[in-house]
Each structure stands twice: as C-alpha cells, then as structure tokens.
C-alpha cells in the first residue's frame, strides 16, 4: 500500500516537474520577446489549476497515509498555490495577467517562483524515490 502511495506521488511529482519546466520555458520566451504577453499568459493560466490540484492531491495523500514530515514539507507550497489562485483580483485574467506581467518586475518574480518550485519538486522527486526504495527493501 505504502509503495502504491509513493509511486503515485512520484508520477504526480514528475508531472509537476514538467509543468514547472514548461512555466520557465514559456516565461523566458516572453522575456526574450519570442511570444507576446497575451498568448504567454493564456498558455500559462490554463495550467495553474492543474498545478494546484496536482499538488493538493499529493499533500492530502501524505496526510492520509500519515507521512507527517512529507506532508509538512508540502503544506506551505500547496497553501501558497491555493492562496495565489484565490487572491487573483476579479478584474484580472488569471494568475498571469498580460497587462500586469511586464510591470513592477512581475515577470521576474514569476520566473523566480517557477524556479523555486522546480527545485522543490526535484527534491520531492528524490524523496519519493528514496521512500519507494525503502519500502521495497524493507
């Protein structure tokens, strides 16, 4: 049972890693002027909800399977994701707003955030991998 949980988490984590990489690539495309803000934001906004759900599922799974440490590790990131999604002003077109993204260094902060998340997911990835190993050896 334990290993099933971790294998699922591992797959989910892979998906999140891919998503982070996609965010980084798209944002850097915008930075380099390869795409315009409108298409960049509509591309990214599509994936905000899947990301929130994907991460929330792992977090809840860890809580259910009583892996406290991993749950607490995931909790702040999941909370931040949900907070960010809820706090979008009613007039904005999503977390990534084409009219705002070039102002006040938002592009940079989005980029930074995506980088941090990538690092975090990589860390989680290896943690799950290690846990699976533990499970299978024990």
């Amino acid at each position: 049972m334990e290993s099933v949980v971790f294998i699922f988490s591992l797959i989910d984590c892979c998906a999140l890693i891919f998503l982070s990489v996609y965010f980084i690539i798209t944002l850097s495309d915008l930075e380099c002027d390869y795409i315009n803000a409108r298409s960049c934001c509509s591309k990214l906004n599509k994936w905000v909800v899947p990301e929130v759900i994907g991460h929330a599922v792992v977090t809840v799974l860890m809580l259910i399977s009583l892996h406290w440490f991993i749950f607490l590790l995931n909790l702040p990131v999941a909370t931040w994701n949900i907070y960010r999604y809820i706090m979008v002003p009613s007039g904005n077109m999503g977390v990534f707003d084409p009219t705002e993204i070039h102002n006040r260094g938002q592009l940079k902060s989005h980029m930074k955030e995506a980088m941090i998340k990538l690092g975090f997911h990589l860390l989680c990835f290896f943690m799950y991998l290690y846990s699976i190993n533990q499970q299978s050896t024990s």
Binding site: A37, G91, N92, M93, P98, T99, N103, R104, G105
Partner: protein, 1151 residues
C-alpha cells in the same frame, strides 16, 4: 561621449534646414526650397504647444475670433443700469476665511512682518496681521525685478514686449490684416454649408415612423427609417451663430491673416522663443509682407478642404507638395533671416517662466541655465557677446548648483511659489548638448542628473523615471524622407544628436556603444548640399525628428482612418440629451475628421438591442438594422455598415440629423453595452481604427453586465475604499482583443449615477484609448458639463490621430525600465502597443539602474513612436534625451525635477491604491517626502536638525504631495463618489505632465488689477502677467477677483466688495448683486481691463490643447465648494493645512 573636433566650429547659419531631405541633390533654387520648407514643416496653423508663450499665431487667433464672436452673440450688451454704487459690505463678516489656518500661522507672524520692508495694510481684513500682506507687496515688486533683469540683458533685443510697439508697426499690422481678410472671404465660398439654414421645420411624420420602427423589433427587423432630409427638429439646441463662425473662419483663412500680422512683428514668428536666431528685427516690412503672403498662399492652397490636420500630416516631401508651393520668389531675403526661420521649433527651452519671470531670488546674469541658446551665436549678438563668451567658459557646476541646492527652510519661508509657472530644470550639460537636447515638454526625467549606481539612487529616495508626451502637437518638426533610416545594428537605436562620429565613416551608438558604419547616402547632406558631413544631417542636428518610414516598417498596407461611434440610446441617455450635442458636433466637424479619401465611418446604437445603420452609397436614406439576439451578436450586413465618409456623406448627415429624435419616446431602460462592443469589435477587426463609445449608465444586459458596487455611506470613509479595480475581466479581454486588431476604444461616460467606471475604463486603458467622464450630465440642467462635452468633442474629433502605433523606449546600457504607466498594452518587455495614439496622451515609465554607470558621463533615452498617419503614411517620431551622470548625492538633489517626481509618484500611487489599498498609497506618498527630505538633511551636515530644510530644487515637493493627497483620487474623509475617484486616477495615469500639474496644483491669479501688471506681447496682443498666488483662502480678499486655472476649467471668483468698475467692465454687469449665478462667458466690453482680462484668459487657453470651460463664482454659488476645495494650503475637516503638513513631516523625520 566626445563630439568630433569639427563639430563646434561650423558657421553660424549651419542649421539652415530645407524641408526637403531627399537623397537626390535638389536642383531647385533656394527660394523654392524655402517655400517647400514652409509647407513641409508643421505649418503655422496648429494649436499652441502647452506653455509656450510665443504661441504660433494661428491657433491663437482662431480661438480668438470664435471666442469673441460667441461672446458677442450670446450676451447682449447690458444696458439696464440699476443703481450703481459701491457696496460696502460688512468688513467683519469675512466668513470664508479659514480662521484656523490663520491661527496656525500666527505663531510665525514675526518672521514675515519683519521681512517686509513696507507693510501695506490689507483693506478688507482687520484680522490680518502684517505678514499676510507681504505677498501682496512682494508680488508687486517681483515682476519688475525680474523684468529688468531679463529684458535688460538679453531679451530686449528680441522682444518689443517691455515697451509698446512702435506706432508704425501698428499701422502695418492693420493694413496687412485688412489685406488678409480678403483671403478668408474667398475661402468662405468653398465651405459646404447650408444645413443650418433649414433648421425650422419639424417633421411630425418622422416620429410616427420612428415609433413604427420601434414596434417592429423582430429578430432581425429591417425597417426603413424614413428620415426626412430637410426636416430637422427645431428642438435641437442649434448654435447658429457659433456654427457659422466656425465655418466661415476656416483654419486656413485665419491662418493667413495671423501669419501676416505676426510676420510683420517679428520676421520669424516661431522663433521668438529663441531670440538668438532673429537678428533682423529691423527687416523691412515689404520683405516681411512678401514672405507672409508667400507662406499664406502656400498654406491656403495646401488645404482646400479646410482640414487643419491635412497639411499637418501632409508630410515633408516634394511629391505631395510641389503643386501647392507658390512660385513667389523672395530673392532679396537676407540669408540670415532665412536661416533663422526654421529654427526655434524644437527647443522651446525658454519657457514662459524664463521670459517673463524669475524665481523670487533675483536672477543672476551668470545663471546660464536661463538662456541656453545664446552662447552659440556670439556673432549675431555682439551686444551679448561678452556675456556669452564669459558664460562659455563657465561650466554649469558653478552657476546652477548653488541655486538648486540652496537650502530652503520650509517652515519659515512661506513664499516658495515662483512668480510665474515652475520651469523645468535644465540638465547640467555642456552648452552644445544642452542646445540639442529634447524639449522638456515632450520628454522629462525625474532626475536630470542620473545617479551613477542603484545604491546612490536608493540613498536619494527619489524615484527615477521618465515622463513622456511623445505625440504632442508640435508647431514645427523636421520630417525626413530617406530611403535608409540609419540605426544601430545591434540595439536598433535611431541615429541622434548624441552619437559620436569616430571618423567620417563610422559612428558609435550612444546607447549600446557599438560602432556602426555610416551608409553612403548618409554622407550627403541635403541641407548644405555638400558631401562628407554626416554630422550635419538633420537627424544629427535635431533631437526630435520624424521619419517617413519605408515598407520595411509595415506589417500590412497602412490602414485607412476608420471611425465607429457606439451610442447609448436607452431611456436614460435620451433623458440626458447628449445625443443632440454629439450629433451636432459630428456634423460640424465631419469635414475636419483627420483622414484621406479612404476614411470610413459607421454608427451603432444600443439599448436592450443593438441597432446598426446601413449607409451604403446609393440608398435614398439610412437603413436601421436591429439585432435583438444579444447573446450571440452578429453583423447583419458586414459590408455596408462602415462606409466611405466622402461617398456616403449625405446619408451620414441625414442620419446625424435624425438620430437625436429617433429615440425620444423610448421606454427601454436596459443597456446592452457588452454585446454592442462585441459587435463593434467584429466590425472593426478587419481594418482597425477608433471606436468611440458613449455610455450613460451601468451596463445591465448581456455579456459584461455590471452590478452596482458603491455603498454611498462609504463615500467619506477614512478607512478602506473598495472597488477601485475592475469587477470583471470582460472589458479587459475585449480591450486586448481590440488592441490585437489595432482598434482603440475611447469611452465617454455621461452618467448621473454610479456606472462602475473602474470596470468600464479597462476597455480604454488597455486598448490605448482615452476616457472622458461627465458626472451628472444633463444637457439643460447642467450647462457647464454640456459645454465641456461640446468643447471636448470638438478637440477630440479634429485632433491628430495615429493608427496602428507601437512605441519603444530605449535607454543606455545599464538602465532598465521596469514599470509603465499610461493607456496601452505592453506587448513585450519594452514595446508598447498603441492601437491609436493621440496628442493628448502622456506616458510614464519607472527605471532602475541595473549596472553601474561609472564608465560613462552621459546617458541617453530614446522613444520611437511608429504610427500610421491619418493620411496613410507610416511615420516614426523619435525623441532623444541626454542627461549627465553624477556620483554625489548632492548633485542628484540638484538635478531633481520636482514636477516630474510628483507626477511619477502620482502614477505609482494609483497603482498602489488599486493593487493594495488607498491608505497604503497615501502613506507611500507621505513617506516619499519624509524619506527624501531626511536623506537630504543627513547629507548636509551643517544644517540644524530642528528645522525642515529642503534643497531649492525640491522646495515645492511637500506642497505638491499635499496637493496630491487632497486630490479626488487620493483624498479620504471627504465625500467622494467612487466614479469621480476612479476617473481622477485614470487621468493621473494618462495625462501628460503639463496637464497633470495643473490638475494637482492649479494656478491662482488675481485679475482685478491686471492693468497694473507687467505685460508681455504675444503676437499683436498685450498679455498681462499677474503673479501666481498661494492656493489659500488668505489670499482671497473680498476686494479682489481671482482666476483659478485648473487645466480643464477656469474659475473666476468674485469677492463681495469687488470694485464695481471691474464688474462692470469685465463681467458686463452693473454691480456684484446682478452678476448671475451661472455665467460661463466674459462679454466683450470696450475697456482696458476687459481687454486685458480676455487677452490673459485666451493666452492661458492657447497654451493647451483643450479649451477649458469658464465658470464665474460668487459667494453663494453652489460651485463655490469646487473652487474652495482646490485651495489646498488650507485646512479642511479631514486634511492638514500646508503648515500642519510640514510640521507632521518634520516630526516624522525626527523620529
């Protein structure tokens, strides 16, 4: 950056440009070139750039004649002489004085009374202690001081302003003007007018037809709406007189007359702001006449359709103009005058402030910042030769710094306002560069001395940013037609005056420092028709130029001018009666809409359904097509809704005449704005263009419907102001869609109730449109708003417009732009997408210093605006600004431009209040003052900590911030409607600096003693120059009359005991009691004071694009509160007085 050695040694008239910059050597004679020049540069009949004293003659006189005519017709001479006599009001009832303000200042009375040498007792206020009268004394003194200083040294040669013009000159003026009137007469016959002669018949049949049409509202009911071409409802508020004035005084005609007049006075009208190049004041009148007629015939023939903007955008190349240039040669024109004529256009560095006034401290002749132009023309000015040569040796370090860094004790020095308008600081550059630099009207930086590192900038606690007005109306502008536009190969910077030529063949980019090759064509200089002098090309001699772009700069063929009007016709709209005004203005200006033969126009109206109008050529009358399926809107006949203006003109006129009455009996209260906008977008998307939306209420049907969010009880809340942001993203998405299809949406909101401007404004904000708001608009109940709409529309419809524009702002390597303010969509990191650009749009950007600028002494900024003119030409307007880099904190403060700083802070505060909260934004504004002053005081070690000291450059900073805090946008505690607040915020984001400053800190003048004031001469008028007054009720004596210039509105406040002669002469009423409550015009009375007042007001009006509404205010007038809330130095229930604010700042600094 070093200029090549040969740069400075060119002959004095090196700058004689011709209008013709083609690459092919021109065989034409010099006189031919001269003619072409005149037609190719922006001709004289364009409205004045803001704040330019020497306004181009024509805009002025056009306004004049209209104004005076209207005055004549609307207010008949008042003959009923009631009992005249001075009303000696009770002196003790000075109720409007804020006594609290007095008390707060009274502690400091000693300072002021001692500083005044002769204390003049003010008559009306026994309460006043001596120090209140001091400003009066000083105001009487200052103009004289400044004048003797300015005129005595330099200006006396260029202006005849101090003394009255010679009698002979007057005579000449008269003869010329009479001669010139013959030209407008001949033009009159071309005016296609006449519809206003058939204004009487009411067609009763028409309303029946309308009803029929309304009843037949099917899914797609196609109803012939019979519009009686001749029958126009007589209930329309026709202004026959003003109309006919407008048309019979066409732009070209008046242009002629005033061109003649002005060219008699000074040989080159436009250069009077730069006297250096007008050596021949004594030029013979015959010569001047010849020139004038020469130019007038050019202009009049250039614009036979009487479109002011035709010739404007007509361009500067001979293909378009060769027909029109009149072949009158002026062989005897001396070379100097020819050389001088084109000059002086791009660098109105001599602001009004420099010419007629000086800062309260006496002007030191060595202050070279005030007359930068003179140093380069010692040959032409032997009189000032000595002065300028001595100036040449001085670096500005010595002369400017002590003045702008002079410590000012804010709590003690009460007279910090300059006598006249606040001048823009002049960058501390060497004289060559300063002369070439971009005009501060177009391009301003908050810090004219750029700090070397971000650390230094952080220490200074001042924001770094640019304030741009890139598309403003320019009187003259070099237009360059060239097959290759020379640009840097790596950063794509346009070649500009601040590049350096390494040798004949190579130039070094001043932004990225790449070395580029000079193309072969660029070696030829069409000005001097010489080869091998690339540094003398016009691109390198002017920091503001316009290129005619080749097809490389087009993604598609240039679009035609397309205008779509989307009009609300619900019950609410019909009730307010705006349709009449809009249709009337459109009818009047139909011929003046900028465009060419391809111009297209269309109309959509909407209530709960959307109505389209088929105006296809060949129809006998316009067809109305109603689409009631608003959930899935479609275009009934996509081809015939946007029609060619010229081919379908009669149908359009029919429609405009009928529209105001078509919906008179409507009972439809809903408004389906969203679907109408979607339809408009569909209609416009193939071409792009401009959508003008007129909306009168909250949209209540279909997509984009909104709900009321305002809680009236929260209007005066001091805590939280909610709902400053949009409620839905519908309008934002629509705007972005429009922007993608090169369509801008302009919003006219004429509502009496809350209409959620915060949401609606998005449609204009992100599509580069503009927003107009008329609170509690009603045609008859609120005539002031109606007049404002009329004037705004006139300007809106006739002003220049650029389509499918993009703007890029580049800056020297090391600087980077991180935030943009204004109405546009930022498409990529530094590219602003502007579907439309208009001359009234301002922009701001914030910058940071990414890399240290230690290895450079100069930084440059360049904006390039690529647009399609209404004539279907692709053009690029380039402005380049060059500023020095400094390494010490004191130098940063010395170069601070307080107005630019305040405007940038206002923009930032708007962002902050939307993204965070209003109280945050207010705190940030106060902190900006506290931090910067604290930082300054910590640098100056010898200052006492107990005093509040500011450098002279920032002495107005606290005052302006206080004014900002009392603006509608940011004020708390006073009842402010949400829409009013949001509109004020929108204006802050999109207004150019000059307009915004008037809004933030209006100018107050005392106008009942204008005869005694010093004067300047503008064209043929004598314009008095009253000193600026503090915005405080203590200045309003009951014996006086005051004019407050708020940018878009003039208030004239009349004191109760105002001199009866003034009331009689200027207002045209026998005494104070008989002055009516709603007075919006000054009559034309044949008296000196009346003439002076009117010339002063029209001079103020000329300095801006929009002609402001005038409002006369008596004591018991309801508009009184509007007037008094602008007195920002006074205390209100909810806000500090200026003095209290200073004490508050001081406390926070000491903390």
């Amino acid at each position: 950056m070093q200029l090549p050695s040969g740069y400075g040694s060119h002959p004095p008239n090196y700058n004689a440009p011709s209008g013709h910059y083609s690459q092919v050597p021109n065989k034409a004679a010099a006189s031919h070139l001269d003619n072409q020049y005149r037609s190719s540069y922006y001709p004289t009949y364009y409205s004045a750039p803001a704040q330019n004293v020497m306004t181009p003659p024509v805009g002025t006189s056009v306004l004049n004649t209209q104004e005076s005519q209207q005055l004549y017709n609307k207010t008949p001479p008042h003959t009923g002489g009631s009992a005249e006599g001075p009303i000696q009001g009770a002196i003790s009832s000075a109720s409007y004085l804020h006594t609290s303000a007095q008390q707060s200042y009274s502690a400091f009375g000693n300072h002021y009374s001692t500083s005044v040498s002769s204390s003049v007792a003010s008559q009306g206020f026994p309460l006043n202690s001596d120090h209140y009268t001091m400003p009066v004394v000083s105001s009487a003194v200052y103009p004289n001081v400044s004048y003797s200083a300015a005129a005595g040294s330099v200006y006396g040669q260029a202006f005849t302003s101090q003394s009255l013009p010679a009698v002979g000159q007057f005579k000449e003026t008269n003869t010329f003007s009479s001669q010139s009137t013959s030209v407008p007469h001949s033009l009159q016959q071309h005016v296609p007018m006449g519809y206003n002669t058939t204004l009487s018949t009411v067609s009763s049949a028409q309303s029946v037809q309308d009803n029929l049409c309304r009843n037949l509202t099917g899914s797609v009911a196609k109803v012939n709406n019979q519009i009686n071409a001749g029958g126009i409802d007589s209930s329309q508020p026709v202004h026959p007189v003003s109309q006919s004035v407008l048309f019979t005084k066409p732009g070209a005609g008046t242009a002629v007359s005033s061109a003649v007049i002005s060219s008699v006075r000074t040989p080159a009208p436009s250069l009077s702001s730069q006297p250096r190049s007008s050596p021949s004041v004594t030029q013979s009148p015959e010569l001047a006449l010849q020139e004038a007629i020469d130019s007038s015939s050019t202009t009049s023939s250039a614009s036979p359709v009487l479109n002011n903007y035709d010739a404007l955008e007509g361009g500067g190349y001979p293909e378009a103009r060769s027909v029109t240039s009149s072949p009158v040669p002026a062989p005897s024109v001396p070379q100097t005058s020819k050389a001088s004529k084109p000059f002086g256009y791009g660098y109105p560095t001599l602001q009004p402030g420099y010419q007629n006034a000086a800062p309260p401290t006496p002007v030191q002749p060595s202050n070279s910042g005030h007359h930068p132009g003179f140093q380069h023309y010692p040959q032409q000015y032997p009189g000032v030769n000595q002065l300028s040569s001595s100036l040449g040796g001085l670096s500005l370090q010595h002369s400017q710094q002590p003045e702008s860094l002079r410590p000012v004790n804010l709590t003690q020095d009460r007279n910090i306002l300059p006598v006249s308008s606040v001048p823009a600081p002049v960058p501390n550059l060497n004289s060559d560069l300063r002369k070439l630099n971009c005009s501060p009207d177009s391009f301003r930086c908050t810090l004219t001395n750029i700090p070397q590192t971000q650390a230094l900038l952080n220490k200074a606690k001042l924001p770094l940013g640019l304030l741009l007005h890139p598309f403003r109306d320019l009187t003259q502008l070099p237009v360059i037609t060239s097959s290759t536009i020379v640009r840097c190969r790596s950063c794509r910077t346009y070649i500009n005056p601040f590049v350096s030529f390494i040798d004949q063949r190579r130039w070094k980019c001043n932004l990225c420092y790449r070395v580029n090759d000079v193309p072969e064509e660029f070696m030829y200089n069409p000005l001097t028709r010489s080869y091998g002098e690339p540094h003398k090309r016009p691109e390198v001699q002017n920091s503001t130029v316009e290129f005619i772009a080749s097809s490389d700069y087009m993604l598609r063929p240039p679009q035609p001018a397309v205008y779509l009007f989307v009009l609300d016709v619900s019950h609410n709209a019909v009730e307010a009666g705006y349709l009449t005004i809009v249709c009337q203005s459109l009818l009047e200006n139909l011929d003046k809409l900028p465009g060419d033969s391809r111009t297209r126009i269309g109309f959509i109206t909407f209530d709960s359904t959307v109505q389209f109008y088929n105006l296809q050529e060949g129809l006998s009358q316009p067809q109305m097509l109603i689409v009631s399926d608003i959930d899935d809107i479609f275009l009934p006949t996509p081809d015939s809704l946007l029609v060619n203006l010229h081919e379908s003109k009669e149908l359009i006129k029919d429609l405009l005449n009928a529209l105001p009455n078509m919906f008179t009996n409507t009972r439809e209260t809903h408004s389906a704005l969203g679907p109408a906008l979607q339809a408009a977008f569909k209609l416009m998307s193939p071409t792009g263009g401009r959508i003008s939306v007129f909306q009168t209420q909250l949209p209540s049907l279909g997509a984009g419907l909104l709900h009321s969010r305002e809680d009236p009880n929260q209007r005066s809340s001091t805590k939280v102001v909610q709902h400053l942001g949009p409620a839905t993203d519908f309008y934002k998405k629509l705007a972005l869609d429009c922007s993608g299809q090169q369509t801008a949406v302009d919003l006219f909101l004429l509502s009496s109730q809350y209409s959620d401007l915060a949401s609606l404004a998005c449609m204009s904000k992100y599509s580069a449109g503009c927003i107009y708001y008329y609170p509690s608009f009603h045609r008859s109940h609120n005539p002031a708003q109606a007049e404002k709409l009329q004037k705004d529309l006139k300007r809106y419809l006739t002003r220049k417009i650029g389509f499918e524009a993009v703007m890029r702002i580049r800056c020297t390597k090391g600087l980077s732009i991180h935030t943009f303010h204004g109405n546009f969509f930022v498409r990529s990191t530094d590219l602003l997408s502007l579907a439309n650009v208009n001359p009234d749009a301002g922009f701001a950007v914030q910058m940071s210093i990414e890399e240290s600028l230690t290895d450079t002494s100069l930084v440059c900024f360049q904006t390039a605006l690529l647009y399609t003119s209404s004539k279907g030409e692709r053009r690029i307007r380039v402005h380049t600004l060059c500023l020095p880099v400094v390494s010490s904190l004191a130098d940063v403060y010395a170069g601070a431009d307080v107005q630019a700083v305040v405007c940038l802070l206002a923009n930032m505060a708007v962002d902050r209040s939307v993204s965070s909260s209003l109280s945050d934004a207010r705190d940030a504004l106060v902190n900006a003052v506290v931090d910067s002053l604290a930082a300054y005081m910590s640098t100056a070690s010898n200052l006492q900590q107990s005093m509040l000291i500011a450098p002279n450059s920032l002495k107005l900073f606290p005052l302006y911030i206080l004014a900002l805090l009392k603006q509608k946008a940011f004020r708390t505690g006073m009842s402010t409607r949400l829409d009013d607040r949001v509109y004020a915020m929108c204006q802050m984001k999109s207004q150019p600096l000059v307009h915004l400053m008037k809004m933030i800190h209006p100018n107050l003048y005392r106008i009942d003693k204008l005869i005694d004031e010093s004067t300047i001469h503008v064209n043929d008028r004598v314009v008095p120059q009253p000193p600026l007054q503090k915005l405080s009720a203590e200045k309003l004596t009951r014996e006086g009359a005051f004019l407050m210039d708020c940018g878009s509105i003039f208030y004239i406040w009349i004191g109760k005991n105002c001199d009866n002669n003034f009331i009689k002469d200027v207002l045209g009423y026998p005494n104070y009691a008989s002055v009516p409550q709603k007075m919006t015009q000054l009559p034309e009375v044949d008296a000196l004071s009346s003439e002076r007042t009117r010339s002063f007001i029209s001079w103020l009006r000329d300095s801006r694009s929009l002609s402001p509404v005038l409002q006369v205010i008596k004591d018991e007038n309801p508009a009184k509160t509007d007037f008094f809330q602008h007195l920002i130095e006074d205390r209100t229930e909810a806000a500090f007085s200026y003095y209290e604010f200073l004490l508050n700042i001081q406390q926070q600094i000491c903390k």
